[in-house]
């Protein structure tokens, strides 16, 4: 079967499976068929990537619907298929065959299909239509799954922001089409006004869809309220498709961009990664925390893209290709571990009834499979060896480090600052995920419901276990994928062929060797440590009894950082002490870290818009005569303008 056949049959299977999902009797079979379709999509896509094969038609700037697959589309089809399989297998037990569950199941298939359509679109029309549908389908899923007031508000915010900022995508794609530059990097001159305009428009439109700060505010609202498997697809795949768009426009079609644009991209990436993880740290609900981490990881990917643009502008083609491959490798890695974490969160919610971090605990013992896989995902997202997150963060760090080696003073300094930002981001992510695994998986259960939580059913375990396996595999042998990713650069670059990451100008990250040495040494030390235990004893807390009231909380663990960053974060706290006859009877504490982007940037804009709308309402009198008068006035103005020759 060829690439084209595999992708077409896969898409057909997802579509047919979606229809079957609608029927009560064939509900599970329908989801399974969708999963099979995703396997075929992934297979066809990865084949196109590895064999560097193209199928179907080539890109055109004409409004002439056509589809095709090349290696870059193939990579993202591979991501979509891989995450799709895990999410759909998970959904077979996660969703119930009620009317609501069946609709969500079918919409999941539609969501996979429209994302695939963005990836295979080869003309501006198909691309833009599929792009808009990709925004709307998850909104529909959220509204089907829950229709309460906060959910509707969040969906409104999500749709409004992605459409307003999404205009940037339209501007970029239509400008490219009018220049005839879609699929042809030789058309637009380097440094021309239209090149800058397209690049900036794409950064706004696609950046908003990816969740790049400061256009990210929709993401932590929309992702947490979707059903778990759709959250996995949104965080794992949908925001990555925006990265696909950015790579197409900025790297492939626009030729060499000026340096200041690379610096701008670096700045956006550094802001998103650091601020994303800092706000994630102060979230106390698991899915919302994970959504902020998506912003952080998109920031890391954008840092890689920025390094690529700068290195390309400086003519360092080999390292520019490595930087692009680093960004794409992190895209794959983040898709794997973030969908794993979202699916795991879905299982925990089902088993423990809540995702409030302070109300879980001890789930590793109660749910060893889901908990174990979740632990793997947490170590991977914290960017620690020997898992996949470290491999891509290491290559991104190396790419940033090589910018000053080729660059001038300004862009070299920018890259050095980005380097520090990325190092700090990795450490902050480690802090955050120590907190998450500690509060969710380790220690005592913090509620009785959690103490009786039961392991998720087989299908839900299989979904998370497969993704954890992917994290381990790409951690051990990132070179398997990295070589193909280097080949995606539109300029020629020599790709390394080892399973580790042996790159020129580095000391080589021998991922396999490091993993083997770690496994051997840790295993040996654990063996000689033995299991000799003299006694069991309660925790020593300086003579105090360790009681549930003394349990550490999410806010407590992050307090040192909150105090260090107080000037930036401006946390709010309120302590109310109630005394009765001089005796303290009740102490109420409330604290929060306000989201400054929302409160300082968006609230004034929203307020201004509402103010404008309020005054604009006067014009809308609602009486027919007034509107006829408006029309008459308009016609007169147009006539006068025509008479004066203003209209040409």
């Amino acid at each position: 079967m060829s690439v084209a056949g595999s992708v077409l049959v896969g898409a057909a299977a997802v579509g047919a499976g979606g229809l079957l999902t609608l029927l009560h009797r064939t509900f599970v079979a329908g989801l399974a068929l969708q999963a099979v379709g995703c396997v075929l999509l992934a297979f066809g896509g990865l084949w196109a990537l590895v064999a560097d094969e193209t199928a179907g038609l080539a890109f055109t700037s004409a409004f002439d619907p056509r589809v095709g697959v090349d290696a870059l589309s193939g990579l993202f089809l591979g991501i979509l298929g891989a995450v799709g399989v895990a999410a759909l297998v998970f959904a077979t037990r996660y969703l119930e065959p009620s009317g609501k569950g069946r609709t969500i199941g079918a919409l999941t298939g539609l969501f996979v299909l429209v994302q695939a359509l963005v990836l295979v679109a080869r003309d501006p029309l198909t691309f833009l239509l599929a792009w808009e549908a990709m925004t709307l389908v998850p909104a529909a899923v959220i509204l089907v799954s829950r229709a309460d007031e906060p959910a509707r508000r969040s969906v409104f915010f999500y749709v409004a922001l992605t459409h307003l900022a999404g205009a940037g995508t339209w501007v970029a794609i239509l400008l490219l089409a009018s220049e005839g530059a879609i699929g042809d990097p030789s058309v637009i001159a380097s440094g021309s006004g239209v090149q800058i305009a397209i690049a900036l428009a794409a950064l706004v439109g696609m950046g908003a869809k990816a969740g790049v700060m400061p256009l990210h505010v929709w993401l932590p609202l929309a992702h947490p309220i979707a059903p778990a498997h759709v959250s996995a697809l949104m965080s794992g795949v949908m925001i990555k498709i925006a990265i696909y768009g950015l790579v197409r426009v900025l790297v492939e079609w626009l030729g060499v961009l000026p340096e200041w644009l690379g610096v701008l991209v670096l700045a956006l990436g550094a802001l998103s990664s650091v601020a994303g993880v800092v706000y994630a740290l102060f979230q106390h609900e698991l899915k919302r925390l994970l959504a902020f981490h998506s912003i952080e990881n998109i920031g890391i990917i954008v840092l890689g893209l920025g390094a690529c643009l700068l290195l390309r502008a400086r003519g360092a083609d080999a390292w520019a290709a490595f930087a692009l491959a680093a960004a794409l490798l992190h895209t794959v890695n983040h898709a794997l571990f973030k969908s794993l974490l979202f699916l795991g969160a879905g299982s925990f919610e089902r088993a423990a009834g809540s995702l409030e971090l302070d109300r879980l605990g001890g789930l590793l013992r109660r749910m060893p499979w889901t908990g174990g896989a979740f632990f793997v995902g947490a170590v991977a997202i914290a960017g620690l060896p020997p898992l996949n997150g470290f491999a891509s963060e290491w290559t991104t760090l190396q790419s940033l480090l090589h910018v000053p080696a080729y660059g001038g003073v300004a862009d070299g300094t920018a890259a050095a600052i980005a380097l520090a930002a990325l190092a700090a981001t990795a450490a902050l992510a480690a802090l955050c995920f120590v907190k998450v695994v500690g509060l969710v998986l380790l220690g005592p259960a913090r509620r009785d419901a959690v103490a009786h939580a039961e392991e998720a059913p087989g299908a839900m375990r299989a979904g998370v276990a497969a993704l954890a396996g992917g994290c381990v595999l790409l951690g051990l042998a990132p070179g398997l994928l990295f070589g193909s990713l280097v080949g995606l650069a539109p300029w020629s670059a020599e790709a390394p062929t080892t399973v580790g990451l042996d790159l020129p100008g580095t000391g080589d990250f021998r991922s396999g060797g490091v993993a083997l040495a770690l496994a051997a040494l840790v295993g040996a030390l654990a063996l000689v440590r033995g299991r000799r235990v003299a006694a069991r004893a309660p925790t020593w807390a300086c003579g105090q009894l360790v009681e549930r009231q003394l349990d550490w909380t999410s806010a407590g663990f992050t307090k040192p950082l909150r105090l260090v960053l107080e000037d930036v974060l401006r946390p709010e706290r309120e302590v109310a002490v109630r005394t009765e006859g001089g005796v303290v009877t009740e102490v109420a504490y409330e604290g929060r870290v306000p989201h400054h982007f929302e409160e300082r940037l968006y609230r004034p804009v929203t307020a201004l818009a509402m103010y404008g709308a309020h005054h604009a309402r006067r014009v809308q009198g609602g009486r027919l005569g007034v509107y006829v008068a408006y029309l008459l006035g308009l016609v007169l103005v147009v006539l006068a303008a025509a008479k004066l020759g203003v209209l040409g």
Binding site: L364, W394, G412, A430, V437, F509, L525, R536, T539, C542
Partner: protein, 308 residues
């Protein structure tokens, strides 16, 4: 493999694994002398390790696999880091590569394991230490990566063997950037070894602990592994300080011969700092390390301006 390379490998493995406990021992010994006390012999850490190795452990009720594995993971990842960090500019690859940034990842893994274990015992003091350690680590990692970046830019690669060669000889005098990198790295050394003014290794007051906090519940071989890991951290950062950031010879044989002298001098410097400087407020430590990161950044800018 040449004779020098074989000798360098032997020093790297023997020193990193067996001689590492001598370094904190030396610091403690001299610190006591500087403070007018007699103090323990430099061999005291070995005595402690031997005693702990023979003891059985007291497990905390309700602690699970993460608690039991954490000391092995911490010591194991530090041991891999010992395999990674060469002691001279002529040394073979021991199968884990030679990359400076991989070192940062391995140090972070050890830190993660110990911090996660403190959630298992649900001990407020352990968690207090872990959260402080991880908060300070944010600034340490930024400073560490930037300081390594200075040396990497000067020598043109992040390969540690080439970095030792690239910063050897007159480079320490002719590259002002390297001096700024060394200043930043000095503060990283203080933080990674858990010494004053960032942390006080001698404290017995739980409320002030950083690195010691998560170790409170451990005993027996677990504690022995964690103490060895702390000693090996001394080895790693002091070897890097001596062979990359301080002036060192071009000839690998001279490098090897002078390494013990440099390590002893650096231990003396740590002892002197511990005696002269008081521990700073915990929340001020990030500021100090943030300054270290800025100094290293200034080093990179210096290097860029020089080259422009």
């Amino acid at each position: 493999m040449s004779g020098t390379a074989a000798a360098a490998t032997a020093v790297q493995l023997l020193g990193g694994i067996a001689l590492a406990p001598l370094l904190p021992g030396l610091v403690q010994h001299w610190k006591a002398r500087l403070q007018g006390r007699r103090g323990p012999t430099p061999l005291q850490p070995y005595r402690e390790l031997r005693r702990l190795w023979g003891k059985s452990a007291v497990d905390v009720e309700g602690a699970g696999i993460v608690y039991r594995l954490a000391p092995s993971v911490a010591a194991g990842s530090i041991a891999v880091a010992v395999l990674l960090v060469p002691v001279a500019s002529d040394a073979p690859d021991l199968g884990v590569g030679r990359d400076a940034l991989v070192l940062a990842g391995l140090l972070a893994l050890a830190r993660f394991a110990v911090a996660a274990s403190s959630w298992e015992v649900a001990n407020g003091f352990a968690l207090m230490g872990a959260s402080r350690d991880l908060t300070i680590a944010v600034f340490v990692e930024a400073a560490l990566v930037l300081a390594l970046a200075v040396a990497a830019l000067v020598s043109g690669t992040t390969d540690l063997v080439a970095m030792i060669a690239g910063t050897a000889g007159s480079a320490a005098w002719s590259e002002p950037a390297l001096a700024l990198g060394a200043l930043a790295f000095a503060l990283v050394v203080v933080a990674e070894t858990g010494r004053q003014p960032v942390d006080n290794p001698d404290t017995h007051l739980e409320l002030t602990m950083i690195h010691e906090g998560p170790l409170l519940e451990y005993a027996g071989r677990d504690l022995a592994l964690l103490q060895w890991a702390a000693a090996a951290r001394h080895w790693l950062v002091l070897v890097l300080a001596a062979q990359v950031f301080l002036p060192h010879a071009t000839d690998p044989r001279v490098q090897l011969g002078l390494l013990p002298v440099l390590l002893v001098v650096l231990c003396g410097a740590l002892a002197l700092t511990e005696t002269l400087v008081a521990k700073m407020r915990i929340l001020l430590a990030p500021r100090l390390l943030g300054i270290a990161a800025l100094v290293a950044l200034l080093g990179i800018v210096t290097w860029l301006v020089e080259g422009a």
